[in-house]
Subunit: 321 residues, 2 copies
């Protein structure tokens, strides 16, 4: 049997055929061209149907179709509540899909939750029951898996871990609050912090690394300058690790999950620069220091495929119910 | 059938016989006199046996015995890992209990978790699946019920919601971190904040309310002065509500639970002073504003009985598994 996963992004739609080993065996990708919810429903169904036909399998071999949307969903009702950057409001996706392909179970998830589910099923230890994926990007996305299932909350809006206030009355966040974790520990926050320290240190090596062009500063720049011995860059990274570690410790004190996986470009920094110091920070800070078991802090594995795989496996999660 | 619950505090042991309506029908209370873990195990068993014999029921009528300890436990193994204020470390409570009363299922819980479970079973809407109890006392205790069960984490240490950093690099907390929520929003924090504002406002009405005696300041003092029109007291309460609301919004953004119940003395303030403004703050701040369902923020109901009732119902929770 196969599972189909579709990852709905603001720019592209990506669909994948996922096998019983939770691996992608074929994909399709097309630009998002949204004209109406009706058209969108048809596009999603046709993408799934094309994926089946192109790969010479039958519809009967597909156990379920799952879709990850950038926003809250109501999986039981088969409805997407709303999405970021796409004008979807209360879209009955499952019903629309079934007009073109009837009978196949359709499952909906939030994209960050789907990514977490993908990492969960791909984690080396298959006996774990809980995993939190923390993705460091423009903001901080989190997906929470407890007892092998996504924690969605009563309205599909749970798991907004980037929007935990870490600095009371701090920087204004896009969510309306002030001082959210993602304002201090996302990849974009690291870029802003790097630029701020450049501004204060005109002789920092960082200037040379980006050729004097602030638009070339990214989530790797400060790490690179630190390796070349730049003190301001080290200060940026040290502070960034404190912000990041503080939020991770918050999650551990609340959940004590088996695994926290870090995703996004920043998470690919060398272990000695990011993962190892973070492991020390959280072990020192958290409750449960003396317990026999601790949360394992690891790098996420799947990269951009996590969303497709997790969306596909929404069906598996539902079957286990 | 009955359930026996024992609430182990730093000063007293309280046991209760709980009926199938989750109500206490009889209690026993005795001072904690700890000499050894052996003796403690015997004391707990004898308390339960006495409760049965005094109330003319038979051991067969007791479905299970549950105990709430001030610290992390491993319920599956029947072991208390450690406790605050009592020198218990890795105590095999279930095994010790069974030396005196064999055959009855024994369940262990953390006291804050037990209190949350008690509130959960007593909540007016019996169809809820999630409730978080936030108790404002010396610190902030939280108990998290998801899918009708206590969320304990991998090591029994989850649910330490008071130890979420709200003010990065803020006040030193007893847990070792800086700026934890409980340093700003517990009952003790409110008392410190009241005293600080008195210090800056020698003409504040608060001075008269406590007869000039700082040791008489409690969690009600600032509310009372505010009602008498005292501006410094109003400033204290306004700020306190922001701290409290910020942490509650954090919980909602993570969990979107059906219910958050506020417990502890401070929660008994008039609704217009505490519950109603908090409801406005979290509704304005949280994700899911536009969703069809929102977390209900309510006052806890059971007071000091929550711990006994919740401990007793640990058995019910286990039976549902």
């Amino acid at each position: 049997m196969y599972y189909i996963g579709i990852d709905i992004g603001g720019t592209n739609l990506k669909a994948g055929l996922v096998d019983e080993n939770y691996c992608i065996t074929a994909t399709r990708k097309q630009p998002l061209q949204f004209t109406s919810m009706e058209q969108m429903g048809e596009t999603l169904a046709k993408m799934a149907i094309d994926l089946v036909e192109e790969n010479n399998i039958t519809r009967d071999q597909v156990a379920s179709v799952g879709m990850g949307f950038p926003g809250p969903v109501n999986d039981k009702q088969g409805v997407v509540i709303k999405t970021v950057n796409i004008p979807i409001r209360f879209m009955p996706v499952a019903e629309m899909f079934h007009r073109f392909w009837d009978g196949v179970p359709v499952h909906l998830g939030n994209d960050a939750d789907c990514a977490a589910l993908g990492e969960f099923y791909h984690y080396e230890d298959k006996n774990i029951e809980s995993l939190i994926l923390v993705t460091l990007g423009t903001g901080i996305g989190t997906g929470i898996i407890l007892n092998g299932r996504i924690h969605t909350g009563i309205n599909g809006c749970a798991g907004e871990g980037g929007h935990i206030v870490l600095v009371h009355n701090g920087e204004q966040c896009t969510c309306g609050r002030k001082g959210c974790w993602e304002r201090y520990a996302s990849a974009n926050a690291l870029i802003r912090q790097t630029i701020a320290v450049m501004d204060q240190n005109k002789d920092s090596i960082i200037w040379g690394i980006v050729g004097g062009d602030l638009s070339r500063v990214d989530g790797r720049t400060a790490f690179e300058a630190m390796h070349q011995g730049d003190a301001p860059a080290r200060a940026v990274i040290d502070q960034y690790l404190r912000y990041l570690g503080d939020g991770l410790s918050n999650f551990i004190n609340i959940f004590q999950p088996e695994v926290i996986a870090l995703g996004g470009g920043v998470s690919q920094a060398r272990d000695e620069d990011l993962l190892l110091p973070l492991q020390s920070i959280v072990l020192e800070d958290c409750f449960g220091r003396e317990a026999d078991r601790h949360t394992r802090l690891v790098k996420a594995k799947l990269g951009n495929d996590a969303g497709i795989i997790g969306a596909a496996l929404l069906g598996l999660q539902a079957r286990d119910r």
